[in-house]
């Protein structure tokens, strides 16, 4: 059987390839992350992160919006992309839409009613507005997200 023949490529070489390769690429990855960290403030327009934006993100998270929607393409694929919804719909539409849920149209997908205050609605809109200005390499391809 060929497995008993001496072979040029030994287990030790395979192991070294694993350790060497992993360590090398972990270091490269760390360097790239370090560089990305430095560029995030500029690319994300970080100085525009107001307390309202932070509060909006908190509302976004605690209502589990990502369980139906995508945000910058990530999340669930059950409901529309919201990374560019500010540009697509504008602030007033967004607030009115959230406030009027659920539609109760039979057979249609339903969004829960979250009973937000006016302040909370404004914060959410601020968060979505800020998100819309992140440099996403021109994604999504068109306004429909």
């Amino acid at each position: 059987m060929s497995q008993n023949k001496p072979s040029g490529f030994t287990k030790q070489m395979a192991r070294n390839m694993f350790y060497g390769g992993s360590v090398f690429f972990i270091l490269v990855f760390a360097a790239l992350i370090f560089d990305s960290e430095r560029k995030i403030p500029f690319r994300s327009n970080a100085q525009a992160i107001t307390p309202a934006v932070i509060s909006g993100k908190h509302l976004w998270e605690t209502r589990n919006c990502i369980g139906c929607h995508t945000l910058l393409g990530e999340g669930a694929y059950f409901a529309p992309e919201l990374g560019n919804v500010y540009k697509r719909r504008g602030p007033e539409f967004i607030k009115a839409w959230i406030a009027s849920q659920p539609t109760h149209i039979e057979g249609r997908r339903q969004m829960p009613q979250f009973n937000f205050t006016e302040q909370q609605l404004n914060d959410l809109v601020e968060f979505l507005r800020w998100t819309g200005n992140v440099n996403t390499e021109k994604w999504p391809p068109n306004i429909e997200g």
Binding site: F18, A76, Y77, V134
Partner: protein
């Protein structure tokens, strides 16, 4: 033939983990079917179980039951590889009940309480970690996971330290420690969404396309050694090359998630190039599995286990490798990012790589844990049927989602002007969504067939066959 006994009594704890894993698996599929139907009947179960709650239950159950599967596998594998009893079987049992109750409580919490209320009740304001995909667990659950995993790692690390050290147990340990380490990033949630997303992928990507591949490789290698009797030197060499390629491609492959979330443009290149190579380790796993079967030195009585092992290598390559490659290059992903194509890839990859490898372990270990080398031929035949029913159903479902994804890209993403809005597009995808539900029903039937194999024709294969090409004569030729 006499019933066989466990080589190491403490391996018995694995049984609890496997049973819990399979129970949660069934629940996961039930919620999956609900989600599939909600795509078609939008108001199904509303407002009692809105889509986002059901989805969170579906994905979190997957993660939890796979973790149960990994832990059970480790508790079975490590004593055998280390040739010594588990450091503390008692700790393993305590952690089992802690993990199970934490898991069940969390799921009940998801279903019984509105998410915002759950966040409030569980101290999310102390450290805000909730509400991010797959990491929806309340803070106490996240801390519980860390505690359980650390206790588990302590237990198996001590076992390895006091016994024989093999490449398989070493790789498994590295994978599991890596899993624990990367999970710590679930506690990182910066106010800047871009930064938040970047570290979120440290958990999600570096689990499934990093550390978990080490675990998968180790489990697959273990089952192949046991069922084919191929020399350990050969298997170890393959294992190291496979995991080397997994990390060499997978670590920078993280970049394929960094294309459009606000990170620098060079990730388009880094992510495309390295993730395009991510199929390589999966392809090698397929070659590895077939090669070992070809070189087998015995025909093991548990042919079902071998089928799951070979199956995992093939379906992982299709799901993680091919279906990933299909949309991983940045210019393609620009159009497919966050469409049903992503869902198609996710389902086949998880099923092929992680569901099947855990079942391969369960299929190999469970008969032994029940005092027999292998199940009766009739029971094995049910297992093999269940493999084919589940796999064909999953492939069917994934093809349906792929069809949906392609149409979605065509209608909603490709047109520069007058593109179809999201919900209108969804209406056009209904045909594919119905096919998907069909695949889901088939999958559930396959899973039930698998569970039936545990009660069908009890007894061991030796009862039926005079031939006993058992484990003993050929095992461990080289220590």
């Amino acid at each position: 033939m006499q019933a066989i006994t466990l080589k190491y009594k403490s391996q018995g704890v694995a049984k609890y983990y496997f049973v819990a894993a399979l129970g949660l698996f069934v629940l996961q599929i039930v919620f999956g079917l609900t989600l599939g139907l909600q795509y078609l009947i939008g108001d199904l179960a509303f407002p009692y179980i809105p889509f986002n709650q059901a989805r969170m239950v579906h994905t979190n159950l997957l993660i939890v039951w796979l973790l149960f599967g990994f832990m059970g596998s480790a508790y079975f594998l490590v004593p055998e590889e280390s040739e010594t009893e588990l450091y503390s079987p008692k700790l393993a049992m305590v952690l089992f009940w802690v993990f199970l109750s934490a898991g069940v409580l969390t799921i009940v919490g998801y279903l019984a309480v509105p998410y915002a209320k759950l966040a409030e009740l569980t101290g999310n304001d102390i450290l805000q970690t909730m509400g991010r995909e797959f990491l929806e667990q309340p803070l106490p659950t996240k801390i519980g996971i860390v505690v359980v995993v650390l206790g588990f790692l302590f237990n198996i690390s001590m076992t390895v330290l006091k016994g024989r050290k093999t490449s398989i147990s070493l790789v498994l340990l590295m994978g599991l420690w890596g899993l624990a380490l990367m999970f710590l990033f679930s506690f990182v949630n910066p106010a800047n969404l871009v930064r938040d997303k970047m570290y979120w992928w440290f958990v999600v990507h570096l689990w499934v396309e990093g550390t978990w591949e080490l675990i998968m490789g180790a489990l697959l290698a273990f089952v192949l050694i046991k069922t084919t009797g191929v020399d350990r030197e050969v298997i170890d060499k393959w294992l190291y090359v496979i995991i080397a390629m997994a990390l060499i491609t997978g670590i920078l492959g993280t970049g394929h998630h960094f294309f459009f979330i606000g990170l620098p443009g060079y990730w388009l290149w880094v992510g495309s190039i390295f993730s395009a190579m991510e199929p390589i380790p999966f392809f090698m796993m397929t070659v590895f599995a077939f090669n070992m079967v070809q070189r087998r030195r015995r025909d093991h009585v548990n042919q079902a286990a071998l089928l799951w092992a070979v199956g995992t290598s093939v379906v992982a390559f299709l799901g993680a490798g091919l279906w990933g490659f299909m949309h991983t290059l940045a210019p393609i992903n620009y159009y497919t990012h966050g469409t049903q194509l992503t869902a198609a890839h996710g389902h086949l990859a998880f099923y092929g790589a992680y569901v099947l490898v855990v079942i391969a372990m369960i299929s190999y270990a469970m008969p032994i844990l029940r005092g027999r080398e292998a199940n009766s031929r009739r029971a094995q035949s049910f297992e093999m049927w269940s493999f084919w029913i589940m796999t064909v159903s999953m492939v069917f479902m994934v093809l349906a989602l792929t069809g949906a994804g392609i149409l979605q890209v065509w209608l909603q993403r490709l047109p520069t002007e007058g593109a179809m809005p999201f919900m209108q597009t969804q209406d056009q995808l209904r045909f594919f969504y119905w096919l998907r539900v069909g695949g889901g029903v088939g999958f559930l039937l396959g899973l039930l067939t698998y569970l039936y194999s545990f009660v069908a024709a009890p007894g061991s294969v030796e009862d039926e066959s005079a031939v006993y090409p058992g484990l003993m004569p050929l095992r461990e030729q080289k220590a």
